[in-house]
Symmetry: C2
Subunit: 315 residues, 2 copies
């Protein structure tokens, strides 16, 4: 039981989902505080039967807080979360800033909960496109050691926040009516388009989003020898990321064994009966906590590879 | 110069594009005949300054025709095109039915024109998702021998014909207005969704579309040792297919050499300056004959692989 839990970034897309989950799961705390930028401070939010006024996130706001759950832009997390740690808070950070810091635990509760228990400072959660892939890879890695992954993503606009989905809907309406729309979250129109850039370009022609899929995967699975080749693409879907995942294992896995491994893993749901038209799609995975896997098949091009399709609600 | 050219399937999505191209390029023929199913026979179509009445496609309609350009459903091509060959016509078939038949030449004019010149019967053109990939692979294969390709597609609704795009637009309007729409070309709603099935399921859990990408690639490049692992996904884009292509070559290629090879190939246009936000997207490739390549980069996971993004107008 916590005395006081603070949600930082409470008015954002992920912040709202965090509040929903805390409410649904009757998270054990006596008091909840909602923190956000000065722009959002003063808003009133209904939460668990009471109305809470959003406070401004400052360096001095963390006194008396036991747990901070933060979902803010990276630069906000970089600036304010060390103050929370210094104030003695436990900190769970959903931003990208702290994940790869050597003193920070990068945790998916279903995969490496031990890293959270032994953490002294910030506990970070991985990028959404990494999370679903790592959940799907985990049972295969434990059984047969993942050596190389070639992954292509089909990412939803909700990954770019509330403005991302607002852009998709408004931009699509404009396209259907042959009018123009001024996109705010995307560099190019996302309506009826596919944009091969998520994040900013970094080394070797890879984007920040793609590099996260390489380095976060290694950190969470605790194996720096895992090779990942990612391509991250934004598509006009409002929620749920999809991925084609081609995985090479040290020991070859049959399709039957891979399916069995997926089915035995608590957070994976296998939807894979093609003849009945059963496979995961964003339209049916929206709102679920599970990672959905389907189209599991032998990679006819390599004896140690299997290939599959993975969909999960990214929020 | 041909005396008489017949376009079979003249009222379909690809048929209309064929007529546009014949007109734009002042295709040298004295007479054009337009053939379609009984349902469409009698329609009047304006073509090259005259109005032509669509005739019914029958076994006996080919007499006096020099060249048949056919874009019909597979079963129509299966039934009627042998009659055209028997009537002495040259036949170019855009359907999927005849492509892998041993007596049929499978031709991309930019890649293997010699196969068309030596053909005695039907000349087939490959599946649209195969064509753009093979054009992109050809210069790499000639220089360094392609060994294995892992490809994920982001396919437009126009690949499912006029009804596909009609479904996308009407379904999207319905979704925005929270009403329902009865999809005709797709098994599931395509609006704001991604569907991991194109064609029907065949062997080993692969769809017909995916198997085409394996076997047609080998036939066109004339190398049965090329390994391809495809996953074909329909996304809510009206026109232009996109693909992430990961290619392993016998001799490793540097990014600089791969870019040079792409740039030197007549039908490929390289759009690859990430820092300027320059990369191919359906929104900018629509209406072009070129195959667009961008996001060319070293695959950090394998010394003999490069990886890139490829977009082309599929019609």
């Amino acid at each position: 039981m916590f005395n006081t839990v603070a949600v930082a970034g409470a008015t954002g897309a992920v912040g709202r989902i965090i509040l929903q989950l805390l409410e649904q799961r009757r998270f054990p705390a006596q008091k909840f505080r909602l923190l956000a930028s000065a722009r959002s401070a003063g808003q009133q939010i209904d939460f668990a039967g009471s109305r809470i006024t959003v406070e401004e996130l400052t360096h001095d706001c963390f006194h008396g807080v036991d747990l901070v759950i933060a979902s803010t832009p990276d630069e906000t997390a970089a600036e304010f979360l060390p103050s929370a740690v210094r104030a003695g808070c436990r900190v769970i950070d959903e931003s990208g800033y702290w994940r790869m810091h050597p003193d920070v635990a990068l945790v998916i509760p279903e995969i490496n909960p031990q890293a959270a228990l032994s953490a002294t400072g910030i506990i970070a959660s991985p990028n959404c496109s990494t999370t679903q892939m790592v959940v799907a890879l985990k049972p295969l890695h434990d059984a047969a050691r993942v050596r190389r992954v070639v992954v292509s993503t089909y990412q939803a606009t909700s990954g770019a926040g509330l403005q991302g989905t607002a852009d998709l809907l408004a931009g699509t309406r404009a396209a259907l009516n042959s009018t123009t729309y001024d996109y705010k979250a995307f560099r190019y129109p996302i309506a009826f388009n596919a944009i091969p850039q998520i994040g900013s370009f970094k080394q070797d022609g890879y984007t920040s989003e793609e590099l996260k899929m390489i380095f976060e995967t290694r950190k969470i699975l605790g194996d720096d020898s895992i090779q990942v080749c990612p391509t991250c693409i934004r598509i006009p879907v409002s929620n749920c990321h999809s991925e084609t995942i081609n995985v090479e294992t040290e020991r070859p896995l049959s399709v039957a064994e891979a399916r069995q491994l997926f089915e035995s893993f608590p957070d994976i749901k296998v939807l894979d009966d093609p003849n009945l038209g059963q496979y995961p799609m964003p339209s049916i995975c929206d709102g679920s906590d599970d990672v959905f896997v389907g189209r599991i098949r032998r990679d006819l091009s390599h004896p140690n590879c299997i290939t599959f399709w993975c969909v999960s609600d990214n929020l």
